[in-house]
């Protein structure tokens, strides 16, 4: 009897303790039109709970039934074909607007037969030369109605066509406003809840690790390859950064160099980030209100990011979040009702998800995981908030935390090892009275470094285990008060 009880405990304990994604989030594949190759690059929400998707092959299909409980009843109608790899599409006033490789356009079915017949070119003022890597990723309209477009470098390494390596704003009447320089290879672009634009740039030349970057108008993002195009618009020359340096050192020389808001450490937090989408569900997808979700092509994941502004610069932490998607994720849409729609493809770039393409939705089960909700920098350390009261005794024990930090070389060659490594010492951990936060005093923080916080043996007061006990915080600025 005794032995059996112990066995039962041993067998059940790990099952009870180990949080599973399916406890909190339900991931479902949405059936696709049979026989069609649906390498989804864009998702747009239409009135009446319809969804339009654009594929890398240039088709637009409209899906009905993707919100329903029973996904077997989903129907699809082809709306358009012959578009050039749209990445970024939205519906506005009866038109589907999209960023294609060569242009921003809008399309419409004017005669009501269910097929688009009007294809208007809004802006085609940037260069393309036939290089496969000259991708263009566009946003929804910003507060002024402008679409932000990031233009990948030629072959992700050169500046063979006008404005490669820049972010442009396109006005509804087709004007193009050069907005940021220093871009390498974007994988997606979007806005945070405040309406500031961010994009994901992929590891490569002048990009030690993939990261989430803030497209502050007038800023330089780190890769000088496309600098020469400033002459096309009589703009000041972007920074001539030095290879072998560090982002922090260069931005001290060049204030317009805005550092990556959140580094997504290469290999540890994905290795090919794509979409950027803010959680505007007001709590319908869990407690992550206004946080950002990052799509990940290579690892078939969604990461979660919390941001704060210190000394006028965005920075913050990235946490592991959702995984196990069927293909590499490219676009990501959040419906205000609390559903993430995502899709993607692994054509040309492999992904952990082994299907060639996918369209999926994720719903919250209503159960909140015990997680770090936010991580923010303080004068002398970091403050971590939790999604529910923490086991105060464990959380107050400094031995249950470890921290190390590193940065990357800013260099003209591909990527960078983690360098300038440092280990921090947690000297105090003070839990708030409501047990919803812990304030860590940290010795040896390094400005500009990614700070990797690892929590060990910290459970919720309820006994629930932490789902993802680590975070990566990019400390661009250290608060002084």
């Amino acid at each position: 009897m005794m032995i059996r009880s112990i066995l039962t405990i041993l067998l059940i304990a790990p099952l009870v303790a180990a949080p599973q994604q399916s406890d909190y989030y339900q991931r479902q594949e949405i059936p696709l039109p049979p026989g069609e190759v649906m390498e989804i690059g864009s998702i747009a929400m239409l009135p009446g709970q319809k969804i339009a998707v654009a594929t890398r092959r240039g088709d637009v299909w409209i899906c009905d039934g993707a919100y329903a409980d029973d996904l077997t009843k989903v129907t699809w109608k082809k709306f358009a074909q012959g578009l050039h790899e749209p990445f970024g599409m939205f519906w506005k006033d009866g038109w589907l607007w999209m960023t294609q490789r060569p242009e921003v356009s809008r399309i419409k079915d004017t005669d009501g037969d269910g097929l688009a017949d009007t294809y208007e070119t809004i802006c085609d003022k940037w260069g393309i030369n036939g290089d496969y890597h000259e991708y263009a990723f566009g946003t929804d309209p910003d507060k002024e109605g402008n679409i932000w477009v990031t233009l990948c470098l030629t072959g992700s390494a050169g500046a063979g066509s006008d404005w490669r390596g820049w972010c442009m704003r396109v006005t509804p009447d087709g004007k193009m406003i050069p907005t940021c320089s220093g871009i390498r290879s974007p994988g997606g672009i979007g806005f945070n809840a405040e309406g500031d634009a961010f994009y994901c740039d992929n590891q490569g030349l002048w990009n030690g690790s993939s990261s989430l970057k803030w497209l502050k108008p007038g800023s330089f993002q780190g890769n000088p390859t496309g600098n020469k195009f400033h002459k096309l618009a009589n703009l000041p020359a972007p920074p001539d950064v030095t290879s072998g340096s560090r982002v922090l050192a260069e931005r001290k020389k060049f204030p317009e160099f805005i550092p990556p808001a959140v580094v997504l450490p290469h290999g540890k937090m994905g290795q090919s980030p794509t979409a950027v989408a803010a959680d505007t569900t007001d709590g319908k997808f869990g407690p992550w209100k206004n946080q950002l979700y990052i799509g990940e092509q290579c690892h078939s994941q969604v990461q979660r990011v919390c941001l704060e502004k210190v000394n006028g610069i965005y920075q913050g932490a990235v946490f592991h979040f959702l995984e196990g998607f069927e293909a590499g994720l490219i676009p990501l849409r959040i419906d205000p009702s609390g559903i993430i729609f995502t899709g993607g493809s692994n054509r040309g770039w492999a992904s952990r998800g082994s299907k060639p393409f996918t369209f999926e939705r994720v719903k919250w089960t209503g159960k909140t995981p015990f997680e770090m909700l936010t991580m923010s920098a303080t004068v002398d350390g970091f403050e971590v908030t939790f999604t529910e009261p923490v086991d105060a005794a464990a959380a107050a024990n400094v031995a249950n935390y470890s921290m190390d930090a590193w940065t990357y070389i800013l260099q003209s060659s591909y990527g960078s090892p983690e360098v300038d490594k440092a280990t921090q010492k947690i000297t105090a951990a003070v839990v708030s009275a409501d047990k919803m936060k812990v304030r860590l005093t940290v010795d040896g923080r390094v400005q500009g470094h990614v700070h990797h916080l690892q929590l060990n043996n910290i459970k919720a007061a309820s006994g629930q285990e932490m789902w993802h006990p680590e975070a990566y915080y990019t400390l661009n600025e250290i608060p002084t008060k």
């Binding site: 790990p14 180990a18 949080p19 599973q20 190759v37 890398r56 092959r57 240039g58 074909q81 012959g82 578009l83 050039h84 294609q100 060569p102 242009e103 356009s105 005669d111 037969d113 097929l115 688009a116 017949d117 009007t118 294809y119 208007e120 070119t121 085609d124 393309i128 030369n129 036939g130 496969y132 890597h133 087709g174 590891q203 490569g204 290469h266 290999g267 540890k268 290795q271 290579c298 690892h299 692994n346 054509r347 040309g348 770039w349 492999a350 992904s351 952990r352 082994s354 060639p356 070389i409 260099q411 003209s412 060659s413 591909y414 990527g415 960078s416 090892p417 690892q454 006990p469 680590e470």
Partner: protein, 504 residues
């Protein structure tokens, strides 16, 4: 439990010497955890491949600087880019990863030392360019893998050949050793007006083996000095010649001669060894797939609706909009030059190239007979185009997109000097395949503007309403053709001009 393992992997510092973990981190996304190439072999395998075993210098070089362009592994060609890792991974870790790769999944090769990596890194100096497979194979040929044709040497000749030239009277423009052992003309930039010959040796067992030859344009295959197959004339792929020849066991001399006049090109040669089920291809191209290592996805209009293909189309600018009309009439409109720059009859276009892998490069129309009508911005002030068409025009233009009618026929909208020009295209099939174009200027221009109809091609002037280019007759209503130095120009007025392109 899975999560616990993951947790342990992430927290225990990646041991510098643990090649397996490092492989998972840096390599497995593409090459697969099992070394077979990720996502069902869309990426090159490292398991059971000759590339990572043998001389380790080859692999070290690839890891340090990356590899770009086509590479053949176990008979399959991959055309991808492996990013360089030399700046991201330390010498210690590269040695550990390669040692892991060389001793996993059935691979049995010696360990790689940190010193070896350091030496190779030092030897590369400031080189930053990716390797190409050909370049590496010259430096470090794959061990124990016999190329399909041994000792293969190619000769390349420039010239406008409409039949097989007498090679003994020509001077080669280039001579190359071909370590791949494959017949392949694609390394040479010219795709028109050239001839090539290849000489090498091939092993066969004793028996009556079938040789298979196909080409665009002509070709000739010689074994041990005897001509066994010939395609003597200009023409497309599909004229396959098969010939059985009895041979003894051993090495035989093989010679292939080839010429390409203009338009599309292709060359495939193979041998079906007696008793073996499959053809062994001796060329990079294989029968039925000229110039391609990707599946064919031929786009076709439906019976009553045109199909559109916006992509990189060879012969026009990067903003190409291909239209395939019912009845085998096709065009490619340039969104940069604002006119139909390419016009052809027959099949439309094969999207297989752009719709598989990364879609590198331009795709040519799926026809041998493409009229390249023009290659400059199509609108200019008439005053600028008095004697010749200006290379850069002063007219401000803006592409405004297109409207499709019920049959998918496009009506392109263009702003020319502030005026709206509509340029509509549709096809007629009887009595002859014809592309009908209506160019409509909605208002009278303040300064006269002209439209470039043809340039850079041999125009046969018939009249002010008609001219001929190759096998296309062009007839114009509503304006007169003005000829200037092999250029055909239409001076536009308010109203409509109809242009008909008809194939013989």
């Amino acid at each position: 439990m899975k999560r616990l393992l993951f947790f342990l992997l992430m927290t225990s510092r990646l041991l510098a010497q643990d090649g397996g973990q490092l492989y998972t981190l840096y390599c497995s996304a593409c090459h697969g955890a099992d070394g077979k190439g990720a996502t069902g072999g869309q990426f090159p395998p490292l398991a059971n491949s000759a590339w990572p075993v043998g001389n380790a210098e080859r692999s070290i070089k690839i890891v340090l600087l990356g590899l770009n362009g086509p590479v053949e592994v176990n008979g399959k060609t991959y055309n991808l880019e492996m990013p360089p890792q030399g700046a991201a991974i330390t010498d210690e870790n590269i040695a550990a990863i390669l040692t892991h790769v060389r001793s996993s999944w059935g691979n049995k090769a010696s360990a790689v030392s940190v010193d070896q990596v350091k030496k190779v890194r030092a030897s590369l100096g400031k080189r930053a360019e990716h390797w190409t497979a050909d370049e590496l194979l010259k430096l470090h040929p794959l061990e124990n893998v016999k190329p399909p044709i041994e000792k293969l040497i190619s000769h390349y000749y420039k010239g406008s050949f409409q039949k097989m030239p007498d090679f003994s009277k020509l001077t080669a423009a280039a001579v190359e050793e071909e370590p791949s052992g494959l017949i392949d003309y694609s390394d040479y930039a010219n795709t028109d007006n050239f001839a090539m010959s290849w000489d090498g040796e091939i092993f066969t067992p004793a028996g009556e083996h079938e040789w298979i030859l196909d080409s665009d344009d002509g070709s000739r295959l010689l074994i041990d000095g005897n001509m066994i197959a010939e395609i003597p004339t200009i023409g497309p792929i599909g004229r396959t010649v098969r010939k059985k020849v009895k041979l003894t066991q051993g090495m035989h001399k093989i010679r292939l001669e080839y010429f390409e006049f203009s338009g599309q090109e292709g060359l495939s040669v193979g041998v079906k060894i007696a008793g073996k089920p499959k053809v062994k291809w001796l060329s990079k191209e294989t029968a039925g797939k000229p110039g391609k290592s990707w599946p064919e996805i031929m786009l076709k209009p439906s019976a009553d609706r045109a199909v559109i293909y916006r992509n990189f189309i060879q012969g026009t600018t990067a903003r190409g909009i291909g239209v395939g009309f019912p009845g085998g009439v096709n065009m490619a409109f340039s969104g940069d030059h604002l006119t139909a720059e390419l016009i052809w009859s027959g099949d439309f276009i094969d999207a297989g190239h752009h719709w598989t892998d990364r879609g590198v490069g331009n795709e040519a129309p799926a026809s041998d007979q493409v009229l390249k009508a023009s290659n400059l911005s199509a609108y200019a002030f008439t005053s600028e185009a008095a004697s010749a068409w200006p290379a850069t025009s002063q007219v401000a233009t803006r592409f405004r997109g297109y409207q499709l009618d019920d049959h998918g026929n496009p009506n392109f909208a263009i702003e020319v000097s502030g005026l709206r020009v509509l340029d509509q295209y549709r096809a007629e099939t009887s009595p002859a395949p014809t592309l009908v174009r209506r160019v409509r200027l909605t208002e009278k221009p303040s300064a006269p503007v002209s439209l470039l109809l043809l340039n850079g091609t041999n125009v046969t002037q018939v009249s002010a309403q008609e001219c001929q280019v190759g096998d296309v007759t062009i007839k114009v209503e509503g304006a007169a053709i003005r000829y200037a130095n092999n250029t055909a120009i239409l001076d536009l007025k308010e109203g409509e001009v109809i242009v008909r392109y008809t194939w013989k």
